[in-house]
Symmetry: C2
Subunit: 244 residues, 2 copies
């Protein structure tokens, strides 16, 4: 498990396929993750076809990994399959609501992450695409997702063709609280973010974007309030359109 500590996100892949047997083996392991009531309220769509990847790419702002990775996996909340089973047994399902949207997301994400850990253990490299929740409507369309199915995480997978340096993390004390949440004083914030702010690559971003500090690069350039509000609305609308 020492590998977990050394892991890195991989965005460049060799032009080499992932055998179907290996992929299925990894997915079998992933499906052993915990799931609420053993209901498995998730589905995984496997994209290998170049044409389908080209359809998916705009949903992910054309990040090159979508088309260069041999396999793209879209992990979805899925209350469709379970509800169909219920109806077919004259049982009335009540899973088209916010509670089950969240529950399905939990189920799907535990499977996604177990897949990633297993894949990395086999020497594969992975990258999560945060864009999945930005353009869910485009993914619904590209993958023909029916009602009660919703994309929550996309992972590109392949054999690594790069060896980037490991990125920083906050010190553990920044994210772990003993017994109760201990809110952050200004002094704690300064101390916990000092290392991140000191990194040359982060200082470079500040200069390139003509900002005063790294936090402003996040709020004014990378993840703005305006974008987040538009995406919140789109996410909510797509959730409703998918029947939740």
């Amino acid at each position: 498990m020492e590998n977990l500590k050394l892991r890195k996100t991989i965005r460049k892949y060799q032009q080499k396929d992932i055998p179907a047997d290996l992929l299925n083996d990894l997915l079998e392991s992933a499906c052993r993750a915990s799931t609420v009531g053993n209901m498995q309220t998730y589905s995984v769509v496997v994209t290998r076809d170049a044409g389908r990847k080209a359809k998916l790419a705009p949903a992910h702002f054309n990040q090159p990994m979508v088309q260069s990775a041999p396999v793209v996996l879209t992990f979805c909340i899925d209350l469709n399959r379970f509800s169909k089973w219920c109806r077919q047994r004259h049982a009335e399902p009540g899973y088209n609501n916010f509670e089950w949207f969240v529950t399905g997301a939990i189920d799907a994400l535990l499977v996604a992450q177990t897949f990633c850990v297993a894949a990395e253990e086999h020497g594969l490299g992975i990258c999560y695409l945060g864009t999945t929740t930005y353009n869910p409507h485009l993914i619904v369309e590209a993958l023909e997702l029916p009602e009660l199915v919703f994309p929550i995480a996309t992972v590109t997978v392949g054999w690594p063709d790069e060896n980037p340096p490991q990125v920083d993390r906050l010190p553990l004390e920044a994210v772990v609280h003993e017994e109760v949440y201990r809110d952050y004083t200004p002094e704690m914030i300064d101390r916990l973010y000092a290392y991140k702010e000191s990194l040359p690559e982060n200082q470079q971003y500040v200069v390139e974007n003509a900002k005063d500090n790294l936090a402003q690069v996040f709020t004014d350039v990378r993840y703005t309030k305006k974008d987040a509000e538009a995406m919140s609305e789109l996410l909510w609308d797509t959730m409703k359109k998918q029947g939740f």
Copy 2:
């Protein structure tokens, strides 16, 4: 990684503590999980104190694991820390919305599941408590979670004191779709759920609950529409109260 395929949820634990060094080591590994924009929009609250566990227990419908496990971990969406850092740097954060609630949930769940895989690899047993999203308001109170912090998954951890049989899963073809989502025909539903329906323990649940079939045990007893609708409202209200 063969262990991933053999894993089981563990609900009974030995009366034996988890050393702080081991727990921190597992949490360090967990924090290497992917995180959107390297923003780490999560926190973990570690509960070891018996009094605090007693406060948490009702939120989890008094499931015995909460008080019998040496450690209870509550994984939270956390946009508070990041927003505080932004404000302190005169950057205006825009993370109090639905998009970032979902993004924070993704971040927190990838960390939670990486923790679980690492813990099991070290011989520990874990159990996810699905009750976390049923009574989030009680957890907010018990763990003193401030605005922009929201509990999304609870895991009990300890040294196993039971060796239960492994539970069933649907066949892999039930949850994996090639290229596009291939919706389920009635014949597929029958075939994919046949094994689950045939299991003696599941047939026993049908008899005990005086239902016609297993699906009705889910819809009429375990996870009813009425409960889900009430919980959806509570989840939504708590999300709003926490400032999202």
